[in-house]
């Protein structure tokens, strides 16, 4: 990792470590020509994996990111299954899914209650000092408390299976290390009703509040694009296995039943000189027209149904809002997240009633039987892909990871441009409220910068307005 240069990145403005940097480029007529969300640090994790064994990879990659360790753990274990050429025993598959449901609940709850709801309830023009959880707690203490409880429930599901301190790499190639204990199952089952109540309340609150934000819904990344996610062989919502599907803005299926392990046949990865994060695109449409979105919004647009009653009911209202077509505003990632919390809680309920999650038959052991393994998994933020190539002894020769935030890279830039165009409106100065909305627009995707850069948590933001010759017209910086 040390001293490794990936590519030289030219940043027009002073590089600020750990800051989200947005540049807005005006054309001669003062219109927004383009806006860029820069990712200015690289992790070089792919190189770091070289020389390690496939069995170590879940443990190693779970350390890539402090925010989504579970996602990397599960994607890596799946890539390991492929190299061992084994199918994990059924209880292991259920347990991995149970853990991922816990991850959806905790991650989506964090995104909605802690990061998004201050904006949704207090507005984008509220004082910066109030647009945070503390402001939210003052305004709506019940909601803030609910958020903490729901997130804690998700974390408890994860901890009951593979607490980092107890089982640092719980998911392994071939399965998992331990089943759920009957005590943990009962403990979780007792807390499930409250979690469900909170999720439903939040969903209703969102549906009630959203008409007030019609303008933001219009401008926070509202444009046609493709959507990509895993679906089950029957076309249902899927989060850990299955096949990839692409739909367009009309929710017409563009491609279906795609073998995730052959991703490089249909996903290209473009490189831009100003960002370390690559720009994946759908090959048949080329770059950048092949822009697609992943994550909660994409999963709900792609699937035919979710497959559980409450979530399908909510999906019905979601679909109706777009007349059955795809919901194309990235603002509604928030909505999709809430629906997925409901879905994940319903699944958790099913697993807790299933005696198989207590079964000790959770691990298939095998040696190296394939030299290439691709693990594709739906992380809370979207499709996550681990691709390993090993030598005959199981040592990694090459690793390629495509993280969820990467798939959304093109769409995030489009979103930033759309918001800038709307709120700059010909001005040569960055107006009040633009910064908040840019931040809100990016936040809708809940990007995990930590997967690709070192920055984590609240995002300090720097926005630079550039004239047609690249001259700096204005600049605003905001600490987190």
């Amino acid at each position: 990792m040390k001293g490794e240069t990936v590519r030289e990145i030219k940043i027009p403005v002073t590089r600020v470590e750990g800051h989200g940097l947005i540049t807005i480029h005006l054309d001669g007529g003062g219109k927004v020509r383009e806006a860029r969300f820069h990712v200015t640090e690289a992790r070089g994790f792919e190189r770091f994996c070289q020389g390690r064994t496939v069995w170590e990879m879940p443990g190693i990659t779970a350390r890539i990111c402090g925010i989504c360790p579970v996602s990397h753990l599960l994607a890596s274990a799946k890539a390991g299954d492929a190299i061992l050429a084994v199918r994990p025993p059924r209880p292991a598959d259920k347990l991995r899914r149970l853990m991922n449901c816990g991850q959806y609940i905790q991650s989506h709850a964090l995104s909605f209650f802690h990061l998004a709801s201050p904006d949704l309830l207090l507005g984008w023009d509220a004082e910066p000092g109030k647009r945070n959880v503390f402001g939210l707690a003052a305004e709506n203490p019940q909601l803030a408390l609910d958020g903490i409880r729901l997130r804690a429930f998700g974390q408890e599901v994860i901890a009951a299976l593979g607490d980092r301190r107890v089982h640092p790499a719980w998911a392994v190639p071939g399965g998992v290390r331990t089943p759920l204990s009957p005590e943990a199952r009962d403990r979780l089952a007792a807390k499930l009703p409250e979690a469900r109540r909170i999720a439903q309340d939040a969903l209703h609150l969102y549906e009630k509040t959203v008409p007030a934000w019609a303008e933001e819904v219009e401008t926070f990344g509202n444009f046609p694009s493709l959507f990509m996610s895993l679906v089950t062989p029957d076309g249902l919502w899927e989060h850990h296995d299955g096949r990839l599907r692409f739909v367009d803005s009309d929710r017409k299926i563009v491609a279906d039943g795609l073998d995730p392990s052959r991703y490089d046949e249909y996903l290209g990865e473009a490189v831009e000189g100003w960002s370390y994060l690559k720009f994946p695109y759908w090959r048949p449409r080329g770059y950048p027209e092949g822009m697609y979105r992943v994550g909660p919004l994409a999963r709900l647009n792609c699937c035919d149904r979710i497959g559980t009653p409450l979530a399908d009911e909510a999906l019905g209202r979601f679909r109706k809002s777009a007349d059955g077509k795809a919901v194309t505003s990235s603002f509604h990632y928030h909505w999709a997240r809430l629906i997925e919390i409901v879905a994940a809680l319903e699944r958790v309920g099913q697993y807790l009633e299933d005696p198989e999650v207590l079964s000790p038959r959770v691990r298939a052991e095998a040696g190296v039987n394939e030299l290439v393994g691709v693990g594709v998994h739906e992380a809370p933020r979207g499709t996550l892909l681990h691709h390993y190539e090993v030598d005959e002894t199981g040592v990694i020769v090459k690793a390629n990871l495509i993280v969820s935030t990467g798939h959304n890279n093109l769409a995030m830039n489009r979103t930033v441009a759309q918001i800038a165009a709307r709120y700059l409106n010909g001005k040569k100065k960055i107006p009040e409220g633009l910064l908040n909305r840019l931040e809100g627009g990016i936040r809708a995707y809940d990007p995990c910068l930590s997967c690709s850069v070192h920055a984590a948590g609240a995002m300090p933001l720097r926005v630079v307005l550039l004239g047609p010759g690249g001259e700096v017209l204005d600049e605003v910086v905001r600490a987190p």
């Binding site: 040390k2 020389g51 390690r52 064994t53 069995w55 170590e56 879940p58 443990g59 190693i60 779970a62 350390r63 089982h167 640092p168 790499a169 392994v172 290390r177 052991e365 040696g367 005959e392 002894t393 199981g394 040592v395």
Partner: protein, 233 residues
């Protein structure tokens, strides 16, 4: 019986016993790493250093120094603690010990020693050597990145299994344990695949394939057990 003093306590030793053995029988703990009961002592790691007051304060490895009449041994002092911590720091700095995803984390003698001796950070610059990992053997792996060159595998293989597979190649900091005249392990004509070296290894350098983070638990005591149970001529 030999009479000596360790940390101002009178201790008795049988002729031929080392200072370490005498201390252990008297319930005085001295940290060790390269020493393993039933294998010949080697004096490779120097963690068991003690100070002999009546030898002008000379430092000797207690695992390899015979107990002698009248010795006045200091096994624990500020100075010795500092020396032992320095040795541990050097061991950590020498190779790539990334405990966070090591197969042995939580069951590692080097880690345990760091905890016991209060070595909580490394003051020397890390060397970050680029060392290979040999996973060619169907059952076991060898990761040079975690080897502390204690030689327990070498002695277990030679003295208990009688296969003489392992040896050292290179010199000084470049030293590597290697099967026969060099790997890969799978091609070793002498290795019997018994796994005694793996059990003897105090760290995550030798491991059973297929183990994930923290899953590797070793039983180094089996070497003493099989030696004792072995019928003698």
């Amino acid at each position: 019986m030999i009479q000596l003093r360790i940390d101002d306590t009178p201790v008795q030793a049988e002729p031929g016993e080392t200072i370490l053995e005498a201390a252990r029988r008297a319930g005085i703990r001295i940290p060790t790493l390269c020493f393993l009961e039933s294998l010949s002592p080697r004096g490779a790691c120097r963690l068991c250093l003690v100070e002999i007051r009546n030898w002008n304060g000379r430092l000797v490895p207690s695992c390899a120094t015979p107990a002698q009449e009248g010795l006045d041994v200091v096994a624990h002092s500020e100075k010795l603690a500092a020396l032992r911590r320095t040795i541990l720091e050097l061991l950590f700095a020498e190779r790539n010990h990334i405990c966070a995803f090591c197969v042995s984390s939580g069951h590692c003698e080097l880690q345990d020693l760091a905890t016991e001796l209060g070595m909580d950070h490394v003051t020397f610059p890390y060397r970050f050597p680029a060392l290979p990992l040999d996973a060619s053997h169907p059952k076991f792996g060898l990761d040079h990145n975690r080897c502390v060159l204690c030689g327990r595998c070498v002695r277990a293989c030679a003295e208990v299994e009688g296969a003489f597979t392992w040896g050292f190649s290179g010199r000084g900091v470049e030293t590597l344990v290697e099967p026969d005249l060099g790997g890969p392990w799978a091609q070793s004509p002498t290795c019997t695949g018994c796994g005694k070296c793996v059990q003897a290894c105090p760290v995550g350098a030798l491991f059973e394939k297929g183990k994930a983070t923290s899953e590797q638990v070793k039983r180094p005591e089996i070497l003493a057990e099989v030696t004792e149970r072995r019928p003698r001529a």
